[in-house]
Every structure is written in structure tokens, then in C-alpha cells.
Symmetry: C2
Subunit: 271 residues, 2 copies
Amino acid sequence: MDFSTTLQAAWARNDSLLCVGLDPDPAKFPAALKGRGDAILEFCKSIADATADLACAFKPQIAYFASNRAEDQLEALIRHIHDKHPGIPVILDAKRGDIGATAEQYAREAFERYGADALTVNPYMGFDSVEPYFAWKDRGVIILCRTSNPGGSDLQFLETGGRKLYQHVAELVATKWNAGGQCALVVGATFPAELAEVRRLVGDMPLLVPGIGAQGGDIAATVSAGRTASGTGLMINSSRAILYAGKDENFAAAARRVALETRDAINRFRR
Amino acid sequence: MDFSTTLQAAWARNDSLLCVGLDPDPAKFPAALKGRGDAILEFCKSIADATADLACAFKPQIAYFASNRAEDQLEALIRHIHDKHPGIPVILDAKRGDIGATAEQYAREAFERYGADALTVNPYMGFDSVEPYFAWKDRGVIILCRTSNPGGSDLQFLETGGRKLYQHVAELVATKWNAGGQCALVVGATFPAELAEVRRLVGDMPLLVPGIGAQGGDIAATVSAGRTASGTGLMINSSRAILYAGKDENFAAAARRVALETRDAINRFRR
């Protein structure tokens, strides 16, 4: 089953547009996990098991694993999610961007080594830096468009040919790069007007939307601006607000409570 | 010693603007190395040892290690270069680009875990996605500007405010982002006119120039367009043409021969 089909099924089955971001920071782990060699894996497994019926996707951020020499734990985590929670796609958030020969190595890393269902990539180097990922026909390629951070405006908001750079990227992906139907876009929740503009430009293409929760984006405005006519089309990501909802050994239950509230808050504005 | 000072000393000591790119592809290794668990490390060490007196920098490309589950070999390789060839900076080519909290994790990975002297980064997400790397004051931050691949033109050549996006990036880095003097730019050898334009915009800022050799860039045009008044300012990268100059057990000697020819070809046009 390809990424887009899996995602649609997950939206329906869990009645959820919530993507749970897995950004494990050992400094914030509960005391019981501290000092364990497999703390990152155990923490993320607990979060995944506690939220799998509430999420449409999981999104591990590779930097948090790489800075802790925990690539093996990332491999084991994705295997665990696929084994225990089949049907919930795993997006590897790595924002890759490099020339074709190198992109092919990154594709092997993401799709073969880690078995990710989708990968985030950066469009700055253009089509031939994105194309190699499409050779894995059943995987998704999620391209940065309008990012949620303040500095996102430095380049993405520049005017070019009567529109802004992020609009150009959205159009380029919708009209040219997405010939195989594998693309999605990253559009931050911190800019609802721009989310609405991207939705207008790309039809029903899935949008990965970071920026609610710790980054301050508003759920009502995000859903209203970004949903498709059928009330889906979004993977609304929350990481820190869910992961660190509780500080003690009940962290997984606390994460579930916040994930449930977030899913339901999103659903109030979907229809 | 900071990155810029180390680089200047390496330019002078080895009379070289050549950066040796380490993109290890086990499928291209000589038969004697095939099947060895440490083949990537041994191959790259042999290349580094054979070329260290001819190079101003080494540039391992992390994708080639990550796709082969060889992060430990990358760690060992950088330690080896620092131990055996002090004074030759190591640039980790990873083209990172993410929000501040994640960028800090990538910085820890590059500068603490791997001990890299400099890191390549992508400017698409703006200043706050680049700023965290500057906290490591003695390290270099090498920002993509005009890349050597054909698709580089898709975004970088768009007109914005009377100039092209890559020119805007060059100016932004030269006038704002480089307050601490830690920046360099990536500008492909495949576009000498644009290399000259970037040199005009950024003064003596170091430029990392991929694209000679396998990618087809011309050495004379590159050096003439990109050198500073003092005949330096460039890290001209060659990867495949050096690494795979020989196919048998004499690969390191063959690599040395091509590295020497390339260094000398560059030097003919420097002064």
C-alpha cells in the first residue's frame, strides 16, 4: 500500500489528523529511564503505544537520535511501530537535500535501512535533488514549503514573479514534481493565511503541519485554513506538548491525555 | 584555532586549494576491501593518508556512511584525520536545515559527536535555522548558495527584487548572518559566472566549490572566477575522480596521483 493510501486509511480508522512527533530529548525523560542505554527507544515506544489509536502518523526527528548516537534505537523504534501498529505510517523527519547521487544514498538510508514510509526533504537544490526518492514508489516525499519558524520568512517570503517563494514551491510541486502522486508539503501552523493559500494551490495534496503546541500555532485557524473539502488532508504535528506532558513514570498516560485532547480539538473544527 | 584560521594555514602549508571529498561507495571499492566490516573506514583512511599533504580540507559526505550503517566508521575516520593530519580541517557535508531546537541537536552531532571543523547547511529555513551552529565559535558554517546540480536553477535562479535568489543568499550571509566570521558558502564550479558574482558580493569569504571532475566543471574558469586577490579563498572539491582513480589494491596511489594533478592544475591558475 502506498503512503497516500495508508495515510488516508489512518485518517479514517483513528478519526484523527494528529501526527505525533518523536523528538526524544533524554534531559527531559522521567527519572526511571535516566541512565538506561535504551532510554530513547523505551521512551518513544511508550509514547507510540500510548497514542497509536489516536494518531494518523508518527514522525521521528532524526537529529535527536543522531546527536545521541542512537541510530540503532531509531531502527528498532520504526520496526516496533510497524509491527505493533500496522497502518500508522512513519515519517522520517530529516529534511534531506543534496545532488542526485547523494540523494540516492539518503533514500536508501530512509526507506531501506529505517523502513520509513515517508521522508521530509528540502527543495532548495531543485528537482534532481528530490527525484531519486520517487524510485521508491510506495513511499511519500514531503517537501518543505512554508516553515513554522520565524526565520522561515527570510527566503520563503521573498517575492518572485508576482508571488512569494513558498507559493512558487507549492505550484512547482503540484504541477510538475508530483507526477507520481508521492508528494506532500510542509506548511507551518503559525501562518494560517499561507496554509489556506497553499491548500488553494495544491488541491487535495496532504500537508504536514508543524507548529501547534510548543510553537504557538492555533488549532482552529489551522484546521479551518488547511483541511480539504472532505475534512482531511492534514497531518497536524505535535511533539513536545505530547512527549513531555508528564514528567514522572506516568509520562505515557499524560502523553495519551494530551494526544486525545489535541485530536479531539482538531476534530471539532474539521467538519 | 578557528575554522577560518585553520583553513588559511592549510592553504599555505600544502600550497593547495583542493578539498578531497570522501563519498565512500562500497560497490566501487577494490576487491581486497570487499566484505570487510571496516571497509569504509579503511578505504577512507587510505585516501586521506595518501592525499593529506596535497589537500586544504577533507569533506566526508554523511549520506554514504548513513546508508551503510557506518556512523561509527565516520567517527573513527574523523578522529584518524585529526590525529594523523593535524591542521587539515574536516568538513562534514550534511546540508542540515531545521528549526532552532533541532538545529542544536544537529550541531551537537556534527561538532561534538563527530568533531567536525565545519558543517554544510541549507538556508531555506532562514537565519534561526542557521544561528544555533554559531554557538560553537571555533567551527565553520558553510551555507548552500548556488549548487552545482542542474536542478539548482529551479529555485536559486528565480528573480527576486532585481537579483537572483542565490545572489540574495550571498548578500544576506555576507551582510547579516556572518557577524561572527564563521560563514562560508557553497557555489558550484559548473557556473563560473555566478561564482565570480558571489565572489564580488562576499569579499574574501571562503567558498566551497563542488562540481569539478565527475560533475564537469572547468578548473581554469573556476579558479579565475572564484579566487581572492591573494590567490586563495577556495576549497575546490573533488570526490569521485580522486577516490575511484584506481580500481585495484593500488587505489590509494592512483588517488594521490589524481589529487596531485588536480592541485597542480588549480595552482596554475591561481596567481
